[in-house]
């Protein structure tokens, strides 16, 4: 399940969502990729990339559910059982969270015997949070055993911090701001949690960009907000003077950062996200304290690569813009766009922070090409409960 998530889910999560959110551009003439790049009504329900995002997430949900149902039938030692259960709940939460970021509605569970029902994405997020709470309860009740940590948990994954980080992430998306602040503060910012790759299990993002040549990261994170001198540009990309000739001509760079090579590890979250979650949640609180928000933002703005356990550092000057809600919102988006580049979060961020798309029939080069994806045709064909596709 961990390997399947790393090999199969990460790619559509980062690259499909990344294309729609304009972080990457398509550099290949394959029709499914061209459809994705165009978005809007040109993106049909039959698109393979959208199907992958949906199907693979639910494959993880199924595997997690099978583990949760059956782990007690195997006589593991207590700490091994709690570790497996916590991991299964965490991955189910991550899969449901991925669905909620791409689709307006989703199912809370899989069922191979009958057609599943749909609920709104807020309920999907709420279920993801329930799963995270259960994961947390498991490891708090019985600490994971050595056997689990050595032989079962994938090396690189930090279970407690990841659970807290995803609680922070999904609480923010769900609008539970004080819970988001608490969870973000519970994360140890010096710790990392990584999906590791090697020659056998190769970094899929690197593979799709560098080997297959399907996508490339755009200049300036594909955003008009990006400040010049932002050191994260150098971290995430390496400059080349090239423009894609497939479809819309958009200038792009070579990939670096967490997709630098076959064996580059990919983080489940970056520490800076926790700080930005706190900033945004604080801004959303009644009678927000602008100073407090700015001080959180400055932690990210002034951080150098050396100060970050993963080497993500903007090294910018402190924030000196206006301290209105709108200006701070824009600053948060600017920082999220850079700090969380190509991590599958950008579509959610644009929906939340960037305002409506100017012209849905022809979005600008820096605007998302869809709000939510159409439900895959394969799902609709086989499940009569599939809701109507969103218009955009």
């Amino acid at each position: 399940m961990q390997g399947y998530y790393a090999e199969q889910v990460l790619e559509p999560k980062v690259l499909t969502i990344g294309t729609t959110a304009r972080e990457v551009t398509v550099t290949n003439t394959l029709s499914n990729l061209q459809q994705l790049e165009q978005g809007g009504t040109a993106l049909p329900a039959t698109n393979a990339n959208v199907n992958r995002l949906w199907s693979r997430s639910y494959r993880v949900v199924r595997t997690a559910e099978r583990l949760i149902e059956n782990v007690r039938t195997v006589p593991f030692e207590e700490g091994t059982e709690s570790g497996i259960l916590a991991t299964a709940h965490l991955f189910k939460a991550m899969a449901l969270g991925t669905v909620a970021q791409g689709f307006e509605q989703g199912a809370l569970t899989v069922d191979e015997d009958k057609d599943v029902e749909y609920v709104g994405r807020n309920e999907v997020l709420a279920e993801a949070l329930n799963q995270l709470a259960e994961a947390e309860r498991q490891i708090n009740q019985v600490p994971p055993s050595e056997e689990f940590l050595q032989n079962i948990l994938a090396p690189g994954i930090d279970l407690p911090n990841t659970i807290s980080a995803y609680q922070a992430r999904y609480n923010l998306f769900a609008g539970n701001y004080s819970e988001a602040i608490d969870a973000a503060s519970a994360v140890d910012l010096e710790a990392t949690s990584l999906l590791s790759f090697n020659d056998q299990t190769q970094n899929p993002i690197w593979n799709f960009i560098d080997v297959l040549g399907y996508y490339a990261p755009r200049d300036n994170f594909g955003s008009e907000l990006t400040e010049s001198g932002d050191q994260r540009l150098e971290f995430y990309t390496s400059p080349v003077d090239t423009t894609s000739d497939a479809g819309d001509p958009l200038p792009f760079e070579d990939v670096a950062g967490f997709a630098d090579g076959t064996s580059t590890s990919f983080p489940l979250y970056v520490p800076g996200e926790m700080v930005l979650i706190r900033a945004e949640a604080k801004l959303r609180l009644d009678n927000f304290d602008a100073q407090d928000v700015v001080s959180e933002l400055d932690k990210v703005r002034t951080k150098t690569a050396n100060e970050d356990p993963l080497g993500v550092g903007a090294d910018l000057s402190a924030y000196n813009g206006p301290e209105t809600e709108a200006a701070l919102e824009e600053e948060i988006l600017r920082q999220r766009r850079a700090e969380l580049f190509m991590q599958g979060l950008a579509l959610e961020d644009l929906r939340r922070l960037a305002g409506p798309v100017s012209n849905q029939s022809d979005p600008g080069d820096f605007e998302r090409t869809r709000n939510f994806y159409p439900y895959p045709a394969q799902e609709r064909r086989n499940n009569p409960n599939t809701p109507q596709d969103p218009g955009f």
Partner: protein, 1024 residues
């Protein structure tokens, strides 16, 4: 259950066997030895291999090389009828009397040539040797002589055009290339639709394992099918039964028909040695026109219309890819024996170059067969056959891998000389490999060592009762290796690549048949057969590969990255029992009924045992007295009607473990792990069930000068197995399911005649013609994409495998229109041009694409036909011509689709666009993305072509020189040509091609495959 069942079954059979053996006949009989000779009535030549039998008994034999026979019988003195028969001759029956003399020498029996085959003995689908007139189903047979007239390099090649209703198609022209065989259309989608192949009682594996990527991923047409291991030279006779009618004896594996091959046996009393030496040469029949774009000053142009640099030119890379190929074959056989024992030992070595540089095939065959009469009533024979096939392959045809030689030719551009410079460095363009480098530096090859063996026992405790037992074994080890040296021009493989993969295959069949023949009354005969079969199959594959190789070392261990291995192990068994009863009335009416139970371990216990009944009737009307008395017989010598119905099922059409949800091992980050499959198990899935009904007639005319066989059939497969999609929220992607049905309806006609029969001249002529219509029905979704190219589809109410995709835009009158709506028409060269006028506006003369996709082609032929003429001049000279036609099938010309785009720019279409003959669109010649080629690249209909062809398949001259010198009995010279001409309108190398090899659904896909060459062969056979 199976094991226990198996054991008790065997015990029961053995018990029965012993019990009947105990009841041996009383011995009021005397042993006689009958001897004589069988000769051709017109030429007086001896007829080796003719059948001689005492009617109504099992006593009989075949004539030896001198046409002589001698056999022992256990009979009471009295009058008997002796029947002599030989393929292609009128059977003769004469009455003989045996009395006191124990050695009976008979006068020579002279047989007349005949086109009629009523008396021909056949065995396929029957309990034992049976006359054709008794058959309720059609049966095609090909004699060894027909195969020998024009030597072939593979069995598939040898049978092309010789069986009505058999579609036999080469996938590529490379010497180890595969051959696809299909009888009466496809009856399955998931399974193999090729017929069951039986050689001397052994079920022979004809898989096409894809061990190395020879193009198109592991689906490429370069795949060998394992029938390749069998040298065609040893064939004595081939029998083909096309449908479920055969199933009672062979069970569900005969779902797609049976091709049974009998190889030569020893005969006669004197050892005979035969040695054949053959020399062969072949070359490409026609090359395609390549892009040689030039401006008015004669300067070569690049793909954007600019003159190439100084000393640069466009090249026809075909000059460096194809060559004249040579090959040889040497065969030696020794056979002989006496009335108790016969033996045959034969061996051969063949080596053939391919017409593509770097391709080669060699094959060693050795075989020993011994037959021993242990007692008067027990004959045991054993056969051991070893084959070693070795090929040097060139990867071609890949649409995924960038390293196919012909693929690189197609993608071009042909603007540089691909040969290495003085330092040995190959020039490259970073798009694709350099084909010359692929051919000369890449090392791809396959090696197969195979053993086929059988032991057979025939026990005749009484003259009425026969027990046949066959134990057959077929096992091979096929190894494929691929090596791409580091430092080559191939993008993505520049650091080198090494792979080794092997398949170990083992198949066993154990068959026991008990037959009881009796005359209930003089006019009523009864034949009862009871039999059982056990079959076991084990397939194991192992592969390892790596990249980033160290220099020199070619093994997988040399690679430092992307190391990967694959390991798959599959086994399955199949059991069957059957009983078959035939009743014959007055030697005119034969009624057969049979019931069979089959079980396959591939299906769940609820669906494992399947019941397959069959019934047939054959009625020879011409045997009635009125036939002769009314005078009809003077025109219609024999007339028979027949009909049969049979059920069968695809018990092997899914994989051994496909019914389970199988997790895949997927270690992650150094830890063990399993990953969930996309395919959900389907324990309740049922085998496909086929019902075939056929009606036919066999007739001969003008004293057997003309013989006609006609069969109409309908074949319906129900519970068609397809992979159906599931809602991803089930946690799965797909599941096998019984959905829909597939129907084949068609007819077959075979006419053989002797237009001229003189003392020293004889002309025989054979015509075959077959039509088949295939239709898919009842699928949940009307349109399912089933092939690997997104356009090969299975559509309700349409033939399987039709092409569905982007089409031309048409106006109300149905005419193809250009971008501005002007009507267009297709020229003889395959390009569309304005119906009137010349292009003026931008977009004129460039076809427009329709908004809706539709069916744009059908790879199934309307009919297949062949016409063979043979002339016998004197007794020593024979001349033979065979024409084959396959008409009405479409071919998807992917080769031209790519090569005609100026962006790649290798073929003629690109030249026309660069030179301005075809419009280059808004961007002009300098922009390759706006013109005719780029636009039509995405109108698939443009690239679907009529693939109809008539081929001059075989021309052969045989001259036999009788010699009595140097201990040589006869010298036979053979000069033959194969695939000499093709009459077609296809804009490519050869319409007889398929990039996916021997796959059922994806047919006629042309992408960068070596065409079938034109070849000549000169051989001499000496008999001592």
């Amino acid at each position: 259950m199976p094991d226990r069942y198996r054991r008790s079954f065997v015990v029961a059979i053995l018990a029965g066997l012993l019990a009947s053996a105990g009841g041996l006949p009383a011995s009021a009989q005397t042993a006689y030895t009958l001897s004589g000779q069988v000769l051709d009535a017109s030429s007086g030549e001896s007829l080796p291999g003719a059948n001689v039998q005492i009617v109504g008994t099992n006593f009989g034999t075949a004539t030896n090389a001198d046409g002589a026979f001698s056999f022992t019988v256990q009979l009471q003195p009295g009058e008997y009828r002796l029947r002599a028969s030989f393929v292609g001759y009128e059977t003769q029956t004469r009455t003989i009397e045996i009395g006191d003399e124990q050695d009976v020498t008979l006068d020579p029996i002279r047989l007349t040539v005949s086109a009629g085959r009523f008396e021909e003995l056949v065995v396929t689908g029957q309990a034992g040797p049976t006359k054709r007139k008794e058959l309720g189903n059609s049966l095609a047979s090909v004699s060894g002589e027909d195969v020998e007239e024009a030597p072939a390099n593979s069995l598939g090649e040898a049978l092309q055009g010789k069986v009505a209703g058999a579609q036999i198609q080469s996938s590529t022209g490379s010497p180890g290339g595969g051959t696809f065989i299909q009888l009466r259309g496809a009856s399955t989608v998931l399974g193999d639709s090729q017929p069951l192949i039986i050689i001397d009682g052994v079920i022979v594996n004809n898989d096409s394992p894809a061990l190395i990527d020879l193009g198109g991923g592991l689906i490429g047409g370069g795949k060998q099918n394992r029938l390749l291991d069998i040298a065609p030279a040893d064939i004595d006779r081939v029998e083909v039964v096309k449908g479920a009618a055969a199933a009672a004896l062979y069970g569900s594996r005969a779902n797609n028909g049976v091709i049974q091959i009998f190889t030569k046996e020893g005969s006669g009393d004197q050892a005979q040695v035969s040695y054949t030496s053959r020399f062969e040469t072949s070359a490409i029949r026609n090359t395609v026109d390549v892009n040689m774009a030039q401006d008015d000053q004669g300067n070569f142009l690049d793909n954007t219309g600019n003159p190439l640099g100084e000393n640069e030119q466009r090249w026809d890379w075909q000059d460096f890819i194809f060559r004249r190929a040579y090959g040889t074959e040497q065969r030696l056989s020794i056979s002989g024996g006496n009335s108790e024992r016969t033996y045959r030992i034969a061996g051969g070595y063949e080596a053939n170059q391919g017409i593509q540089e770097g391709a080669r095939l060699s094959r060693i065959n050795a075989r020993a067969r011994l037959s021993q009469e242990v007692r008067d009533w027990v004959t045991v024979s054993a056969d051991a056959r070893f084959a070693r096939t070795q090929s040097e392959d060139v990867p071609d045809g890949g649409v995924r891998a960038p390293y196919g030689a012909l693929t690189s030719f197609v993608f071009g551009p042909n603007t540089f000389d691909p040969r290495p410079d003085e330092t040995g460095t190959f020039p490259g363009d970073a798009l694709q490999s350099n084909p010359v480098e692929v051919q000369s530096q890449f090392d791809f090859g396959q090696e197969t060592n195979r053993f086929l063996g059988n032991i057979q026992a025939t026990i005749t405790p009484t003259s009425e009762f026969t027990i046949d037992y066959t134990l057959g074994l077929d096992t091979y080890d096929q190894v494929g290796t691929a090596y791409i040296p580091p430092g080559n021009t191939t993008p993505g493989r520049g650091d080198g690549f090494s792979r080794r993969a092997e398949q170990n295959q083992l198949q066993l069949n154990s068959d026991l048949n008990l037959r009881y023949e009796t005359n209930v009354t003089p006019d009523l005969t009864s034949t009862t057969v009871f039999g059982g079969t056990l079959q076991y199959e084990n397939t194991e594959q192992f592969s390892a590969e790596s990249r980033n190789l160290s220099p020199i070392v070619r093994t997988v261990g040399s690679g430092s990255s992307s190391r990967a291995f694959g390991d798959s192990r599959l086994e399955s068994s199949l059991y069957g029992v059957f009983v078959q009863q035939t009743v014959g009335v007055s030697d005119q009416l034969f009624v057969t009924g049979a019931a069979r139970y089959d079980a396959s371990s591939r299906f769940g216990s609820d669906n494992r045992w399947q019941f397959y009944p069959k019934g047939s009737v054959a009625y020879t009307i011409s045997d009635h007295g009125f036939w002769e008395s009314s005078g009809i017989s003077e025109i219609v010598s024999n007339f028979k009607v027949r009909s049969s119905i049979g059920f069968s099922g695809g018990l092997t059409s899914i994989g051994p473990f496909d019914r389970f949800t199988s997790y895949n091992p997927s270690p992650y980050s150094g830890q063990a792990g399993l990953s969930p499959p996309a395919q959900q198990g389907a324990v309740g899935v049922r085998p496909e069930r086929q019902r075939e009904i056929e009606f036919g007639t066999d007739a001969s005319f003008f004293e057997n000068r003309l013989d006609l066989s006609f069969t109409y059939y309908t074949q319906r497969t129900e519970d068609l197995l397809l992979s159906r999609s599931l809602a991803p929220t089930s946690g799965f992607g797909s599941r096998l399911d019984n959905v829909g049905e597939l129907e084949n309806v068609g007819f077959e006609l075979e006419v053989r005649g002797i237009p001229l029969r003189r003392d020293n001249f004889q002309w025989t002529s054979t015509v075959t013609y077959a039509e088949n219509e295939n239709e898919v029905r009842g699928q949940e979704e009307d349109i399912n994409t089933v092939g690997p190219f997104g356009i090969v589809s299975s559509i309700n109410d349409e033939p399987l495998g039709v092409y569905y995709g982007s089409a031309f835009k048409r106006n109300d009158a149905g005419e193809v229109v250009d971008q501005n709506g002007n009507p267009m028409e297709k020229g003889d060269d395959g390009y569309w041009r304005l119906k009137s006028g010349t292009p003026e506006e931008t977009g004129d003369g460039i076809p427009a694409k329709a908004e809706e996709e539709k069916i744009i082609g059908d790879p199934n032929p309307d009919f297949t036909a062949s016409w063979t003429n043979q002339f016998q001049i004197g007794s020593n000279l024979r001349f033979r011509v065979q024409l084959d036609a396959t008409v009405g099938q479409d071919v998807f010309n992917f080769t031209r689709r790519i090569g005609d785009v100026p962006f790649f720019g290798t073929l003629e279409g690109a030249e026309r666009e660069i030179e301005g003959d075809l419009p280059s669109g808004a961007g002009g010649v300098s922009n390759p993305f706006t013109g005719y080629g780029w636009t039509t690249l995405n109108i698939f209909e443009h690239w679907v072509e009529d693939g109809s062809y008539v081929k001059l398949r075989e021309v052969a001259i045989n001259y036999s020189l009788p010699l009595d010198r140097w201990q040589i009995e006869e010298l036979r010279f053979n000069l033959s040509g194969r695939n000499l001409l093709s009459f077609d309108n296809y804009q490519g190398w050869d319409p007889e091609v398929n990039v996916t090899g021997q796959t059922t659904v994806t047919r006629n896909f042309d992408f960068a495959q070596v065409p079938t060459p034109r070849s000549f062969s000169l051989g001499v056979t000496a008999t001592f």
